[in-house]
C-alpha cells in the first residue's frame, strides 16, 4: 500500500482524522490534539499499525511535541503520530496499553523531558540515576557540569 492509499483508507475509516493528515518525506504525518492522542493511536492500531517504532519528544520551547512512529507491517506503511503537550503541564496518556513497546520508550521520554505518561505502569527514570535533577534534553536544561563546546563554524 502506498501512502496515498493509506490516506484514502484513513479518511474512509476515520473522517475526523483526515484533515490532520499530511505527507512529509514520503511518510504520513498525523498531528492530533492532545485529547485525541490516545484514541487516534488506538484507531491507527485498529487500522493495522501493529508496530510502535519509537516514541520521542521534541522540545518546541512553547510546548513539547510528542512523536510516535507507527508501522503497519502487513501493508508496509509508516506514520508519525504527533501531538503537543503544554510546558506547564507536561502529561499525556500512555500508549503502553496499546503497544507494550512504549514502556521503556516512555520512561526515556520522561527521563529526558519530564513528560509523564498517565497510566504508565512504572513511571520513573530509566537512563539517569533516580536522584538526578532536571531533564537534560529540554532546551532550558542548565547544568554547571556541562562545558559548552565553543560555537565555531
Amino acid at each position: 500500500m502506498n501512502i496515498d492509499e493509506l490516506r484514502e483508507h484513513l479518511c474512509a475509516t476515520y473522517p475526523d482524522l483526515c484533515p490532520l493528515f499530511s505527507i512529509e518525506f514520503g511518510d504520513g504525518v498525523l498531528i492530533v490534539d492532545r485529547g485525541r492522542y490516545w484514541s487516534a493511536a488506538k484507531d491507527l492500531r485498529d487500522l493495522g499499525f501493529d508496530r510502535l517504532g519509537m516514541i520521542t519528544a521534541v522540545d518546541g520551547i512553547d510546548d513539547f511535541e510528542i512523536v510516535a512512529r507507527l508501522t503497519a507491517r502487513e501493508i508496509g506503511a509508516h506514520i508519525f503520530l504527533k501531538t503537543h503537550v503544554p510546558r506547564d503541564e507536561p502529561a499525556i496518556e500512555t500508549l503502553t496499553d496499546l503497544w507494550p513497546a512504549a514502556d521503556w520508550q516512555e520512561r526515556e521520554v520522561y527521563d529526558m523531558f519530564g513528560i509523564s505518561f498517565r497510566g504508565h505502569p512504572d513511571m520513573r527514570r530509566i537512563l539517569l540515576p533516580d536522584d538526578w535533577v532536571g531533564h537534560p534534553l529540554r532546551k532550558d536544561y542548565r547544568d554547571e557540569r556541562i562545558i559548552r563546546r565553543p560555537d565555531y563554524i
Binding site: 563546546r149 565553543p150 565555531y152 563554524i153
Partner: protein, 683 residues
C-alpha cells in the same frame, strides 16, 4: 535433525532444528563432542596467527588514522612553486602532480595551469614582481587576463567550501601593476641560442604564448599582424572598458623588449604569402583567430542596419563610435560577445539596447557576472525568443520578429530549439548578430599544402596542433573555435612544444598528456552564515553604472596594495603540505581539540600556535580531510602511552616532529621552531 535449514518459501529459511531421540540422539550427542574436539585440535596444529607485537610490528595501512602530525608550517617552510626552466616540460610536471594528488584545484582547473597558488603565496610574502614572472610563464599577459579572464580557477577554489573563493583574477591584475613599477629593472632580452627561426601569424594571446615559450627555448620568433596594433581579438574584440589598450600594449611591449620581432600591418596571404613565410622560417604557426561574424540567414537580413558583432566591436573599440547614437539596438545572441556588443552600444550612445537570446535567463551562456553588470547598466534582456524575420521598410531595419522559444536543448544536451506559437516584434533601428564567428583563412592558405575542411576551418591534428603541411602549426581560436583567452593560451603552449620537438626532430606525440579541463568539480557556493567579515573575499570596486555607460573607461577599479596582501593571505595553498593556519581543522573538529593561532603581518606571516589536545582527539580524521594543504596528516603512530595527561597536549614542535613509528614522548626535548624574523618590505 541437527544443524539443518529448511526453506519456508517467501525468501525465508528456518534455522530451527531438532534433536534426534533414542540411540541416534545419544550417538549424535557424543559425536558432536568429538567433532568439537577435532575442530579445536585442527586449529591447534598450524602456526598461530599472532603478531608478536614488540618484536614484530604490523605494517599499517596507508589510511590508518594514527596521531596527527603537521608536514610543514607557515613561516618555516616554503611552498613548492610550479615552474620549469623548460616550458615544454611544464605539462608533464602538472600531470605528475595530478597523479600524485598534489595538484591544487585552481591550477588544475586552469586550462593553461597557471600557478595561482604560487602567485598568492608570493603576493602574500610581498614578492609581487616574482609572482608576475611566475604567472607569466603560463599566462603571457597577466595584466590582460587579470581583467578579462573568466577565471575557472575561482570556481574550483577550495575556499568555496568554507566561504568565498580567492580573488585570483584581481590578483593577476595587481601583480601586473606591481610589475609595471619595476619593469625596467627586471626585463631582460632573452638570448637567442638556436639557429632556427619561427614565424607566427597573428598576435593574439595564443600566438604570444607560443612565441614566448619559443623565445625562452632560444628561438628567434617573428610575428606578423595584419592590423596596425598587436593584440588580435584582445585589441579588436574586447571593449576597452574591460581592457584598457595601454595595458594590452604595455604587456606586448614587454615581450617585444624581451626579443620578439613583431611586425604589424602585414597581412599574411596579401602582403606576404604563407609559402614565403615557410621559406623564411623553419616553422610557421598560424594563430590568426576568428575574423568573421556569422549573420543568420533570416528574411531581411541583408537590410541596412543589420551588423555583425566583430565589425561592430571593431568600430566601437577603434573609433569609439559605431553609428548607433540615439538608436534602438537589438543584439541577437546570449553569449559574452553579445553582452559586450550590448554594453558597447550603450556606450556609443544607443537609446535602448535589448538582448534577444534563445536561451532562458538561467541558461544564458554568457558569464553571470557580465550579465549582471550589463543589466545594471540598462541592457534589457529578452530571453527565450528566437529571431524569425528582420522587418524592414525601404531596406532599413525597423524591428525583429521573434518567436517564443520553449526549450533550447534536447534531453541529450544537443542544440535543438523548440519554438512556440507566440511571436513578438522588437522594434529597433540596428540589429547586431552575435551568434558566432568563423575563421577566414582561404586567402592565407591559398596555394599551400595547408588544407581547410568544408566549413573553412583548418584541419588540425588534435593535441599536436599540426596542420596538413609539415612545419606549419596552428593554435588559438582557429583550432578551438570561439572560446576563452586562457584556453587559447593553453593551445599556444602546446603548439610551442610541438614546434620545439619538430625542430629538434623528436617524436611529437611522445609523452603528451591530454588532461580534461576542468580537472576538479566546481563547488556550490557555501552558506556565509557565521563567516566572519575578515574571512570574506575582497570586493573589487566597480564604477557606478550610471557613470560607466558614458564612456569606455575601465569598469573595475582595482584593489589596493593592502587588500591584495590580505586577499593573497586568504589562499589556502591547497596541496602544498604547508599549514597556513586556516583554522578549518579546528573548526571541523567535533571535539574542539585543535587550537590554531597565526600572526597576519603582511610579509612576516607565521603560525604562532598549533596545539592538539591528543587526550580529546577522537581520531575521526575529519580535520585531515578538511585540511586544504594536506599539511595535517594522520601519522602511523599508535603507541601513545603517557605517564601524565599533560604530556598529551601536543604543541607546534611536537606536531612537526617526524611522524616516525616510534613512540610519542609528549613534549620533552623538542624545541618548537620559532618564527623567522623577516625584513618587512615597504609597500
Amino acid at each position: 535433525m541437527a544443524l539443518e535449514r529448511t526453506p519456508l518459501g517467501d525468501g525465508r529459511v528456518s534455522v530451527s532444528d531438532s534433536d534426534a531421540s533414542g540411540v541416534r540422539g545419544f550417538l549424535d550427542a557424543w559425536g558432536s563432542i568429538l567433532t568439537g574436539l577435532t575442530i579445536t585440535a585442527a586449529s591447534a596444529v598450524p602456526a598461530p596467527k599472532t603478531l608478536r607485537y614488540p618484536f614484530v610490528k604490523l605494517k599499517l595501512d596507508a589510511r590508518w588514522r594514527g596521531a596527527l602530525r603537521l608536514r610543514g608550517v607557515l613561516g618555516r617552510d616554503e611552498i613548492p612553486l610550479n615552474r620549469t626552466d623548460d616550458p615544454t616540460a611544464y605539462n608533464a610536471m602538472i600531470e605528475g602532480l595530478h597523479q600524485a594528488e598534489r595538484l591544487s584545484p585552481c591550477v588544475g582547473n586552469c586550462p593553461a595551469n597557471v600557478d595561482a597558488r604560487g602567485q598568492n603565496y608570493l603576493v602574500a610574502e610581498g614578492r609581487a614582481p616574482e609572482a608576475f614572472e611566475l604567472v607569466r610563464e603560463r599566462n603571457i599577459l597577466p595584466g590582460v587576463l587579470g581583467r578579462i579572464c573568466h577565471h575557472p580557477c575561482e570556481g574550483a577554489c577550495r575556499r568555496n567550501l568554507y566561504d568565498e573563493p580567492i580573488a585570483i583574477r584581481p590578483l593577476h591584475r595587481f601583480i601586473s601593476e606591481q610589475f609595471a613599477k619595476v619593469r625596467d629593472e627586471r626585463l631582460a632580452k632573452l638570448p637567442v641560442t638556436r639557429v632556427e627561426t619561427v614565424g607566427v601569424v597573428g598576435s593574439g594571446p595564443s600566438g604570444l604564448a607560443a612565441a614566448f615559450d619559443l623565445m625562452r627555448l632560444g628561438y628567434a620568433v617573428t610575428m606578423y599582424e595584419k592590423d596596425d596594433k598587436p593584440g588580435g581579438a584582445l585589441y579588436s574584440g574586447v571593449p576597452s572598458y574591460r581592457l584598457p589598450r595601454e595595458v594590452l600594449h604595455g604587456e606586448i611591449d614587454d615581450i617585444v623588449r624581451m626579443g620578439l620581432d613583431l611586425r604589424c600591418d602585414i597581412e599574411v596571404g596579401v602582403a606576404v604569402t604563407l609559402s614565403e613565410l615557410g621559406e623564411r622560417h623553419h616553422a610557421v604557426l598560424i594563430a590568426a583567430g576568428l575574423q568573421e561574424s556569422r549573420i543568420l540567414p533570416l528574411p531581411g537580413a541583408e537590410s541596412d542596419g543589420v551588423r555583425g558583432a566583430l565589425e561592430f566591436l571593431r568600430d566601437a573599440n577603434w573609433k569609439g563610435e559605431a553609428g548607433v547614437r540615439g538608436k534602438h539596438v537589438v543584439v541577437v545572441g546570449g553569449g559574452n560577445v553579445a553582452v559586450d556588443v550590448a554594453r558597447c552600444a550603450l556606450r556609443c550612445g544607443a537609446v535602448e539596447v535589448k538582448l534577444a537570446s534563445l536561451e532562458s535567463e538561467e541558461e544564458l551562456p554568457a558569464h553571470p557576472w557580465e550579465i549582471e553588470e550589463a543589466l545594471d547598466e540598462g541592457v534589457i534582456a529578452t530571453c527565450s525568443v528566437g529571431p524569425v524575420e528582420v522587418m524592414a521598410t525601404d531596406g532599413r531595419v525597423t524591428g525583429l520578429l521573434t518567436r517564443e522559444c520553449l526549450s533550447v536543448f534536447d534531453e541529450t544536451g544537443r542544440f535543438s530549439p523548440v519554438f512556440g506559437e507566440n511571436t513578438t516584434v522588437l522594434d529597433c533601428d540596428v540589429i547586431v548578430f552575435a551568434v558566432g564567428q568563423a575563421a577566414s583563412l582561404e586567402r592565407m592558405v591559398d596555394g599551400t599544402h595547408v588544407h581547410l575542411n568544408d566549413r573553412g576551418n583548418l584541419i588540425v591534428e588534435g593535441q599536436l596542433l599540426t596542420t596538413s603541411a609539415p612545419g606549419v602549426f596552428a593554435c588559438g581560436e582557429v583550432v578551438t573555435g570561439p572560446g576563452s583567452a586562457i584556453a587559447s593560451i593553453a593551445t599556444g603552449h602546446e603548439a610551442a612544444t610541438s614546434i620545439h620537438r619538430f625542430l629538434r626532430g623528436e617524436d611529437l606525440a611522445e609523452g603528451r598528456v591530454a588532461r580534461p579541463v576542468p580537472v576538479y568539480d566546481a563547488y556550490q557556493a557555501a552558506t556565509l552564515d557565521g563567516v566572519e567579515q575578515s574571512r570574506r573575499r575582497v570586493l573589487m570596486p566597480v564604477s557606478q553604472p550610471e557613470d560607466r555607460v558614458r564612456d569606455f573607461r575601465q569598469v573595475e577599479l582595482g584593489i589596493t596594495h593592502q587588500e591584495a596582501l590580505t586577499e593573497a593571505a586568504r589562499c589556502l595553498r591547497c596541496q602544498s603540505e604547508v599549514c597556513v593556519g586556516c583554522t578549518f581543522c579546528a573548526r571541523t573538529c567535533p571535539d574542539y581539540c585543535i587550537r590554531v593561532e597565526r600572526v597576519d603581518d603582511p610579509g612576516a606571516r607565521c603560525l604562532t600556535r598549533y596545539e592538539l589536545d591528543l587526550s580529546k582527539c577522537c581520531f575521526c580524521g575529519l580535520c585531515a580531510e578538511q585540511c586544504p594543504t594536506n599539511a595535517l596528516v594522520h601519522s602511523g603512530q599508535y603507541e601513545l602511552s603517557f605517564y601524565h595527561r599533560d604530556l598529551m597536549m601536543f604543541d607546534k614542535g611536537e606536531m612537526l616532529r617526524d611522524p616516525d613509528p616510534t613512540r610519542a614522548t609528549g613534549r620533552d626535548g623538542i624545541e618548537p621552531p620559532s618564527c623567522p624574523v623577516r625584513v618587512r618590505r615597504q609597500p
